[in-house]
Structures are given as C-alpha cells and as structure tokens.
C-alpha cells in the first residue's frame, strides 16, 4: 500500500511543478500587449485635423503663376523664414555637418558611394533630379516647397515651359491650353500638406537612380504599405507618415547625417516631451517588453531593429551588387540592357552588372549611430575590399549596439597611383553614359571636384552599408532567440569577442565532459555485465 500512495503523491507534486513551469512559459509566450507597445500607442493618437489654414482659399495662391520662382515667393510671402531655414539644411545644401573643411562630407562635397559614385560637385546634373529646387537648378535656384509639401505632383518644368510657350497666343485653342495648365498649376499649388510618405519617397525611395536601389528598407512599397510590411506606416494600422518619427525643427528633419547620429542620447518622450521621436525608445522606452522578459535584458546591447526587422526588401527587390568594371559591353554595336529574375536590370551597358535580392537577411555590426564614409581624399588599400561606408562602433564602445545593415557590394574605379577612389562624370555629353570612355569620364569628373588624377585607374571591390530601420515587422515575425543563439551560422556569427549562450562553447570542456560521461556509462555497463555474469555463474555452481 505504502509505495503506491507515496508514488501517487510524488506524481501529483511533480505534475503540479511541471504545470506551473509550463503555464508560466505559455503565459509569457502568449503575452498580451507589451508595456512598450501600450506606451507608444498612448503617445501617438490619431492625427486630428488641427490646421487653421485652408490653402485653397488664400489669395496669394489664387493668382496665376508663370514660374516656380513665383510660387516660392507666394509661399514665402506668409512663411517668411521657411526658405532661409531650409537653405541651412542638408536637404538643400547636400553637405554634412562635419567641421572638416578639407574633406567636405556630403553629396555636394567630396563624399562617395558605390552606386553612381559622386555628384561631382553638383556638376553631374542627373543627380539634381532629386534636388528640391525648381527645374533641377540646384543650390543656385529657388526652393521648390511643393516637392515636400505638395499633395499633387505635376511635371513642373514641362508645365511652365508649355505655359510660357503658348501664353500670349491669340489662338483660342492655345488659350484654352494655357488656361488648363494654369488651372492644374494652381490646383497643385493650393493642395499644401505636411510631407507625406510619397513626398519623402519621391527621392528617398529612388536613391541610386531607381526604386529600391539604395536602402532596402525604403522603396515604393512603403508608399502605401500593408501593416505586415511596416507596423508603423501600414495603411491598415497606424498609417504613420515619415515625419511622425522624423520630427522637424526649423526644417531640420531628424535623422542621421553621415557621422552625426540621429539622436545624441537615448531618451523617451517621458524624459523630454520635445525630444526627436527618431529612435524606437522615444515612444517605446528602453525596456518595452513585459517585465521580467529576457528581451528587456537585451536592449542595452542589441538594437530593437536587430530582432524586429527579420528581413528587408520584403515586397520589392533591392540592389545588392553593382559592378562598374563590367560596363561598356555592346550588343550589335549598341548599348543594351538585360533584365533578370525580378524584372530588374542585371546588366546595363552604361552601368555594368548588378544583382537584386528580395527578403534579404541583414548583416549585423556594432553601431554607435555614426557612419564612416569615404571621400575622394581618403586613401584606400586596393588589396582589400574597401568599405566606402561602414558603421562605427565596437563592443567596447558603450554607445554601440548590434544593429542590422544592408551591405551593397560592387566594383568601382580607383587611382592605382594615388590610391584613392575616383569620381567619374556619368551624365552629360562628356559623361561615361554617353561616351563609354572611362579615362575621359574620370578626368572630367575629377576636374569638377578640383581633385587630381594620376591618369591610371583600375577597379576595386567596395562595400556600402545602410542601417536598416524601416520595415518593422509584426510581433509574430520577430527574429527568434535561436536564430542568433546557435552555433550553426546564426545571425551574429560574425560578431566575435564575447560569449553568447547557445552560440559559443569552450571546446575542451565539452570534450572532457563527454569523455567523463561516456567513461561513466562504460564503467557502469561493464560493472553491470560483470554482475550479471558472475551471478549466473554462481547459480550454476
């Protein structure tokens, strides 16, 4: 009787304990809303219509416009500081905030990338397509406020050209055309908004000369994204516009600029209600997960993005490789393009060979918010792969966290004598795209930058890193613990110098341990056999 009763009691105790453990675990797995999520939801109510102005009723915007300049003047007639504020920002100057006068950071300065390489001191006019000035005039021109603030985008250059060509005509048909164009212009001028995703996206989705070429987490799929693509911007979710996080002070939009981090410190709105909402922590706090959750213990060294953006380029493909050295091949004596898997160019005579990828797993690096970007003045080691842009940070750096990146690889020209990267002129009549003559294009490009060129070039392999921070996935799709805590090619496999449970082990203790366990097993097995046989023998005797 006794044994059965006690066995039963023991079983009950054991089941209770196991039940408690599993219940707790299951409870955590099915976590309801995490506090960081609740907090962020409170902080970001749906936008109310708070504006006190209807731009379509302003006389200043009802008059006819004959040029972009006149439109700007109309805006500035009320928003007196807008243009001068904007002139100070990188969106206008295309120059970084680094104090170094020798090496001017920025697209308009000496910075390089491994896409179209350089804007050649703004003399490569094709780049100006994205400059927020009228008719691509660059910093010489007037600010086109409507690039960012217009709901209706029209082809302004064409509209004003046609308007001016036909105005003053006696032909009633042409007069009608003028009236129609003027009506279109006025309607576009009067539909003023705070910048929407499409406004920012008109440049930032197409960086590098096409949809999804540069970022990987920013492309036209973000214009009207489903929540599954981006939990913040999803039209079936919070439907955030870019400025919801990229908050703005005097036309300075929050965000990283070359080596200057997007945020100086990790503050939430609770600590400072006017802080830029540019970091996840601004709204979600530094410990957003349920109290006691292991994930909260990670936020000091692992950026939110590392787990919450499992893959980027989830809808549209992004370019991951661009080899300029392959450019220049003709087909039947003519320039040609060849499309690949995603309907994207994999070869272009004028640009070389490219690769595109979808659902890309990021690469991870320590990142303190600062990027190190090469200029035409930086020396390189052509024996190695050259990092044209790379995250700054290390495990020893207290401000650095592990952060996801898109790495765009490629090959681009460098000066074999001076050991610097070269900036060929691409567009225009002397540009490579026209002439397919590297030597001449490089000479012209370096002249535009007032930089010397030895006359001898070759191609070197380079990489360019983009922090991945958009395309935050729904909770169910976050990176699982074991995707990093594994010894078999985990996401953090390349990050060394620290011990990670599940990923790392001290080999000899494992060998020794298993040897001891096997020894014990062999020992008891032999002993048991010995007993079995000797006992048998005993009985037979």
């Amino acid at each position: 009787m006794m044994p059965i009763r006690w066995m039963r009691i023991f079983c009950v105790v054991f089941v209770l304990c196991a039940g408690a453990v599993l219940a707790r675990a299951a409870d955590e797995a099915a976590a309801e809303s995490a506090p960081g999520r609740t907090m962020a939801r409170q902080a970001t109510q749906d936008v109310q219509g708070w504006t006190t102005v209807d731009h379509s009723r302003l006389d200043a915007l009802k008059k006819p416009f004959a040029s972009g300049k006149q439109v700007t003047e109309a805006c500035v007639s009320c928003h007196s500081e807008a243009a001068s504020q904007f002139h100070q920002t990188i969106h206008w100057t295309w120059l970084g905030t680094e104090p170094d006068a020798e090496k001017r950071m920025g697209k308009a300065g000496d910075s390089l990338n491994n896409f179209c390489i350089s804007a050649n001191n703004m003399q490569d006019k094709s780049c100006n397509a994205c400059h927020p000035s009228w008719n691509g005039q660059g910093t010489e021109g007037e600010v086109n406020c409507l690039v960012c603030h217009g709901r209706q985008q029209i082809n302004w250059t064409e509209a004003f050209d046609d308007l001016n060509a036909f105005s003053g005509s006696d032909d009633p048909e042409e007069q009608q055309i003028v009236a129609d164009i003027q009506a279109d212009i006025q309607q576009a001028v009067q539909s003023v908004i705070l910048p929407a995703r499409e406004n920012c996206g008109s440049c930032h989705f197409y960086g590098g000369g096409g949809d999804g070429v540069k970022h990987g987490d920013l492309d036209s799929s973000i214009a009207q994204p489903p929540k599954s693509l981006d939990v913040h911007m999803g039209v079936d979710g919070k439907n955030f516009q870019c400025t919801r996080c990229h908050t703005t002070v005097r036309h300075n939009v929050a965000g990283r600029i070359y080596s200057r981090p997007a945020a100086a410190d990790r503050k939430s709105l609770i600590e400072d209600d006017l802080t830029a909402k540019i970091t996840c922590e601004s709204c979600h706090s530094a410990t957003p997960h349920k109290a006691g959750s292991k994930a909260n213990d990670h936020t000091d060294r692992v950026a939110c993005q590392s787990c919450h953006i499992p893959l980027f380029a989830r809808q549209n493909p992004t370019k991951t490789w661009w080899d300029w050295s392959k450019a220049g091949t003709l087909q039947d004596g003519k320039k040609y393009n060849e499309k690949g898997e995603f309907g994207k160019e994999v070869y272009m005579t004028i640009k070389g060979e490219m690769k595109w990828e979808k659902d890309v797993k990021p690469e991870y690096f320590w990142f303190n918010g600062s990027m190190n970007t090469l200029t035409i003045k930086d020396f390189i080691d052509p024996e190695k792969i050259v990092a044209v842009s790379a995250p700054v940070g290390s495990r020893e750096d207290k401000n650095a966290r592990i952060f996801p990146f898109k790495i765009h690889g490629g090959k681009q020209p460098y000066d074999t004598v001076q050991k610097v990267l070269l900036a060929p002129m691409l567009s225009g009549k002397d540009g490579y795209w026209e002439t397919l003559d590297w030597q001449n294009a490089i000479e012209k490009g370096m002249q535009a930058l007032n930089a010397s060129y030895s006359g001898s070039f070759d191609f070197v392999e380079t990489t360019y890193a983009f922090p991945i921070t958009h395309m935050v996935a729904p909770r169910d799709n976050v990176v699982r613990c074991a995707e990093c805590h594994t010894g078999q090619g985990g996401r953090f496999a390349s990050l060394t110098g620290f011990y990670m449970p599940g990923r790392d082990r001290t080999g000899w203790i494992d060998s020794l341990g298993w040897l001891a366990v096997l020894g014990a097993l062999a020992g008891v097995a032999l002993h048991g056999l010995g007993r079995a046989f000797s006992r048998k023998g005993g009985k037979e005797n």
Partner: protein, 218 residues
C-alpha cells in the same frame, strides 16, 4: 545472498520528497541546460531558457529549505566523512559484489550512508551543487553584474564553470542511478526511497557508524 531480511524505516517523508523533487529539478535543468548549450532541440531555445531559469531559481529556494532541514535535524552528521571501512566498501564494489559477498556496511537507521556514499554526497551537497547553483545564479544575473560590482567577471569563464558542473552532475547521475540497482534486488533501493522502508539484513550497528555525538533524538 541475504537471509534474515528485516524492514527499517530509513527515510522520512521530507527526505524522500526532497530527494525526488531535487532529482526532477536536476533532470529538467540538465535537459534544458544542454538544450541552451545547443546540443539538441526539444523545447526550443526560448522555452528552454525560461524553464531553465525558473527551475534553477526554484531549486535555489528549495535548497535553502533542505539546508535548514539538514542542520535542524542533525542529519548533517550522516555526511561527516570517515575513512573507516572505506577500503572495504571500495573493494566490495570492485570485487566482492561479483562474488555475491555481503555489503561490508549495511544500512542502519543511524548510518544511512556507507563511507563512500558519505564522501560522495558531501562533495555533492557541499561543493558541486553549490558551485552549480552559484554559477547558475550569476549566469542568470548577467545583466546586473555591473550593479553588483562584478563587472570584472567573464561570462566565458562562468559558463565554463557551469558546464563543468553540468557534466559532473551528469556523471554523478549516471553512476548514482546505476548504483541504486546494486541492492539485494534491482529496485530495492529505489523502492526504499519511495516508501521510506529499506530491507536490510539484521545485524548490529558498529560503534564508529554511530553519530559523532549522541543526540537527544533516537
């Protein structure tokens, strides 16, 4: 073999409960710990970690009760090491057992453990398990090291200690489970740990086996 068997009540209710409870926790810790270590996939890493931490902390708390029990009941005396008959016990397991000899130190109420067991259990309860608990607790508190003034600790070294402990416990477990089969029947000892009643050969308890100091309880 044994002729004159008699039943003695050897293990109290708490002792038996503690034995099996601790055994269960150690087995769960071994399984989840080795899963965390990347040996196999059973619960999945997240759940393995959560179960491991939960059971680990539960064990620490429960162990405190055990320590309390050992000292208040005077049971600690059962663990005081002795060299008396140690050789005889070793000789028995290495040789005598195959010849069907009787155990040189049969169990007695006042002497539950033979000299070899005393040594092993003392090492276990006073050294190996505390080392494992301490290293586990520190592992668990990794994020607070700086606050605890332990910023100089190395996780790699700590993990090594914890792994060495885990292997040692596994080795003990293997041997221990096997040793339970060496009673007069295969499950005799196991049964005793469940019911509390051990069947032993009648005989006199040796003086040296008695508790070091006579205690009030008998």
């Amino acid at each position: 073999m044994a002729e004159n068997l008699t039943q003695i009540y050897l293990y109290t209710r708490y002792e038996r409960f503690w034995h099996w409870f601790q055994a269960a926790m150690i087995v769960v810790l071994l399984i989840t710990g080795f899963e965390v270590h990347g040996l196999f996939r059973l619960l999945g890493f997240d759940l393995a970690v959560r179960v491991h931490n939960f059971v680990g902390i539960a064990w620490l708390i429960a162990f405190a009760f055990f320590v309390f029990w050992v000292f208040t009941t005077g049971e600690w005396r059962q663990y005081v090491p002795t060299t008396q008959k140690m050789f005889a016990v070793v000789r028995y397991y290495a040789y005598g057992i195959f010849r069907g000899e009787a155990h040189p130190v049969p169990k007695r109420k006042e002497a539950k453990h033979n000299p070899l067991q005393r040594l092993v259990y003392l090492m276990l309860a006073a050294t190996l398990l505390p080392v494992q608990m301490l290293s586990g607790f520190l592992y668990w508190g990794y994020n607070s090291w700086a606050d605890w003034g332990l910023g100089w600790l190395s996780l790699e070294v700590l993990a090594l200690v914890h792994m060495a402990g885990a292997f040692s416990i596994l080795v003990f477990l293997v041997t221990h489970v096997y040793m339970t089969t060496t009673g007069h029947t295969i499950f005799a000892h196991t049964r005793a740990m469940i019911t509390g009643w051990e069947e032993i050969e009648e005989g006199e308890i040796q003086d040296w086996e008695r508790p070091v100091k006579p205690t009030c309880e008998t």
